[in-house]
Symmetry: C2
Subunit: 303 residues, 2 copies
DNA sequence: CCCTACCCCCAAGCCTCGCTTATGCTGGAG
DNA sequence: CTCCAGCATAAGCGAGGCTTGGGGGTAGGG
């Protein structure tokens, strides 16, 4: 088995025409070069160098080996450079999958910051809800899945999130829920309310997991919400509230980029949060570009 | 520094999708594979493999490395094969330089035998007299120099051959000298003669070194030859003898492929030989094709 | 539901390999 | 003729790799 290290030395010996000179170039001692060349000739099965007192010449086999060595070593350094570029964030691609409402403010800010910090990296974005995004993560279709969870639900039913325990879960943002009531509602002017204050209102719920969470929180407040409408689409929720059809509890982030028409937000007490987390595989978390993107997500959320 | 051994393992892991399977393919244990991959990731500076419980996947850096590994390993095996072909006498070129009269019978026979034994090897032939052929050998212009020497001259003046002492000298043939006398000469019928019998004849000498030898041998026999003609060209010597201009002492080999016209050969006593030797450099002697050609020369001389 | 088989990681021990230092030898230059 | 540069060799040491043995986790089958 010919070793790349031997080829590197052979090429240097051929170039300089001397073991000592090659050793100096390679930063080692002359006997090291001598031994490597002996080992290479051993594994080649034929002499590669002709030791004539004056200069070091190549045999035909030596010439053949040097000829191949050029290409092999070039390929090797190309490989090292490409890997070093990925490791040094001068290249690399991260595929990010986010839940729909996360893509609006958090992800764009993080993407912009990532581009500013590491312009040569590429980040692609897809949208998928958590069960699907986790599957994509496990299937190798993405490196980071942005998802959310509700601490209250996790405490009440730990098995619902049990499929995350072999993932790296990076908390990104605690997204506080705010109440949304129609304009003119009795609570619209107060600016603050407890969940119990809305016990008799018709509710408009979000996605299935949000709905489960809403029920859980309301039951902790002592009532079971009457849910008249449920939709995955947050703008639709806002529209329904604005039409006076009920009240809702929405994460602040969903309201960051829109101005609800015909509805007012009220502070909800006690504070309840939707926890936005970035998920990845343990091995992927150690990939520089993935780690950098996680940092950027965390950083973007801090603002 | 990425090592070829690591790339080989990585490629196998990528192909089989498992450390254990790769270990079986490579004929080692699974921890060995595991350790090599850890070392490779260490030197790469980024994870290369994603350990998902079920299967082993590549990161982007891993994919890049495998992509390069294909070419690198292909180049490596190509290099190994080419060297192995040279070592295994399935390829290789030998440049042979012979003195002019050696090319007539010995060399053609050896070349034919070499082609028969190792058809894929190539032997080229050039002609040069010993001082020049030795220089070519030292300059790297040939691998084997066929030359001759006279033991009597070597004993009398060792410094004349002192520039061969760092060469490999392979005796090929002891080429006995025969006398050549004109037809009708008083010794032509006897078939045998001592040097002293020709003390009073005019002599025709060959090349300078042959001439020196002739003088040396004749002086040992008690006389100094009267040399009327000297020429490097053996056919010319034969012609001169045939014309009755003198006698000569010629190596048998020079008469092997010609029939002297107007001259007769006589056995010379005591036996005197021109020693034909093949010269090469110590390192070159270990090159298989060179060694084989030396063997073929020796073999051809035995017939 | 348990059990088995498979696969990976980890730790320890051993061994081999490669490097360095030191020394000897040879050839060429001043 | 002496000095210097270069290669080879031997000894010693340190590192690295491979193996064995054991543990944990997961998927598939009884």
């Amino acid at each position: 088995m010919i070793e790349a290290r031997h080829l590197r030395v052979l090429r240097e010996v051929a170039r300089t025409g001397s073991f000592s000179a090659a050793a100096r170039e390679l930063g080692c001692t002359q006997p090291a070069v001598s031994q490597q060349m002996k080992a290479l000739e051993q594994s080649a099965g034929t002499p590669l160098l002709i030791r004539t007192g004056r200069e070091m010449r190549l045999t035909q086999a030596g010439e053949a080996l040097v000829r191949h060595a050029v290409g092999i070593l070039a390929g090797l350094t190309a490989a090292e450079e490409e890997v070093a570029a990925i490791a040094g964030l001068r290249a690399g691609r991260v595929r990010l999958v986010s839940f729909p409402s996360g893509s609006s403010t958090l992800v764009p800010a993080a993407l912009a910051a990532m581009r500013a910090a590491h312009p040569r990296t590429r980040v692609s974005l897809d949208e998928a809800e958590p069960p699907r995004s986790i599957e994509m993560l496990r299937n190798g279709d993405c490196e980071i899945a942005l998802a959310f969870r509700y601490p209250e639900v996790r405490a009440a039913a730990p098995e619902a999130c049990s499929d995350w325990d072999d993932l790296v879960v990076r908390p990104v943002l605690a997204d506080r829920l705010v109440g949304l009531v129609p304009e003119g509602h009795r609570l619209a002017a107060t600016g603050s309310a407890a969940f119990g204050d809305l016990a008799d209102e018709p509710w408009i719920a979000g996605c299935p997991r949000c709905r489960t969470h809403l029920v859980e929180v309301c039951e902790r407040a002592g009532f079971t919400p009457r849910i008249d409408f449920a939709t995955d689409d947050y703008p639709a929720v806002i529209g329904l509230v604005g039409a006076g059809l009920g009240v809702a509890a929405l994460p602040e982030l969903t309201l960051a980029s829109v101005r609800p028409k015909g509805a007012r937000t009220v502070r909800l007490e006690p504070a309840v949060h939707r926890e936005i987390v970035a998920l990845t595989l343990p091995d992927l978390a150690r990939v520089p570009a993935v780690g950098a993107m996680l940092d950027q997500l965390e950083c973007a959320a801090a603002r």
